[in-house]
């Protein structure tokens, strides 16, 4: 059995996975066929599976899924504005995926993580590493079109925004994430 704070965190993970899946799913539908569309298709399928993993996991550990209104990614858009082209979308996704892996690693290193949660984190992180790799490769293929400097500047801008969004999330949900930070020896922030 997990407590309310962890139940909320797992529900937030689930909501963010659903949001990521729907976003890339709809985007893939409107894109022309090609390597990026192909890999984006796997990406959104993975994210949909991840939301299912979290739903199953919460059930297994005796929790209750909570409907969370706003996915983590939506705060990105509020912080940095709307990405306007595919390169910007992939850049912001690259930053987000690294944040997800960082967060999942922190969670998995926490003390007394339920084995079902631990297993789910490990399973998802394998996919997330592939997400980072395919997006990195896709951004490389865009260098002739956008230029490496613009791509790097875009990534840097989103990194800075990510820091702000993460800090804001920690502040807003201090009680819940403090609990996780305590479990992980204070490494949350």
């Amino acid at each position: 059995m997990i407590d309310d704070s962890e139940n909320w965190i797992l529900s937030l993970y689930r909501t963010s996975e659903i949001a990521g899946s729907l976003f890339f799913g709809r985007l893939a539908k409107s894109m022309k066929p090609g390597p990026i569309q192909r890999d984006m298709t796997k990406h959104f399928a993975d994210e949909a599976m991840h939301s299912w993993y979290w739903s199953s996991c919460v059930q297994e550990v005796g929790g209750t899924l909570i409907k969370i209104k706003e996915a983590y990614q939506e705060q990105y858009l509020a912080a940095v504005g709307l990405p306007a082209n595919l390169m910007e979308v992939l850049a912001i996704t690259q930053v987000f995926e690294k944040r997800v892996i960082h967060q999942y690693q922190l969670h998995s290193q926490s003390a007394m993580v339920h084995p079902a949660v631990q297993k789910t984190l490990a399973t998802i992180m394998i996919d997330e590493k592939w997400h980072i790799r395919w997006i990195h490769d896709a951004l490389k293929t865009m260098e002739p079109e956008y230029g490496p400097d613009l791509i790097q500047a875009t990534l840097t801008r989103y990194w800075e925004a990510d820091q702000l969004v993460y800090e804001k999330t920690i502040t807003e949900h201090a009680e819940r994430v403090h609990y996780l930070a305590a479990k992980s020896g204070g490494r949350m922030a």
Partner: protein, 78 residues
């Protein structure tokens, strides 16, 4: 069909709304359930019309359907 008519028609398709909802003064924020839909639509339109026209700064002041149509005007080839 004019460039603006073509773009407006595609916008209606993306948003799943009747084209009459998309008059020039309609606020984009009122036409979408969530902001992700705007991103999808803008990128989808660029894919549809054969290019990647915009960067983030271009969208900074875009509030209405008319604003977006003006942005596409001249970039969409007939």
């Amino acid at each position: 069909m004019t460039n603006q008519s073509r773009v407006r028609e595609k916008m209606a398709e993306f948003l799943g709304r009747p084209i009459n909802d998309l008059d020039n003064h309609a606020l984009l924020a009122d036409l979408v359930v969530e902001s992700f839909m705007l991103v999808e639509m803008v990128i989808g339109l660029q894919e549809e019309f054969g290019g990647r026209f915009f960067v983030q700064d271009d969208l900074k002041d875009i509030k209405t359907v008319g604003d977006l149509l003006m942005l596409f005007e001249g970039l969409v080839h007939t």
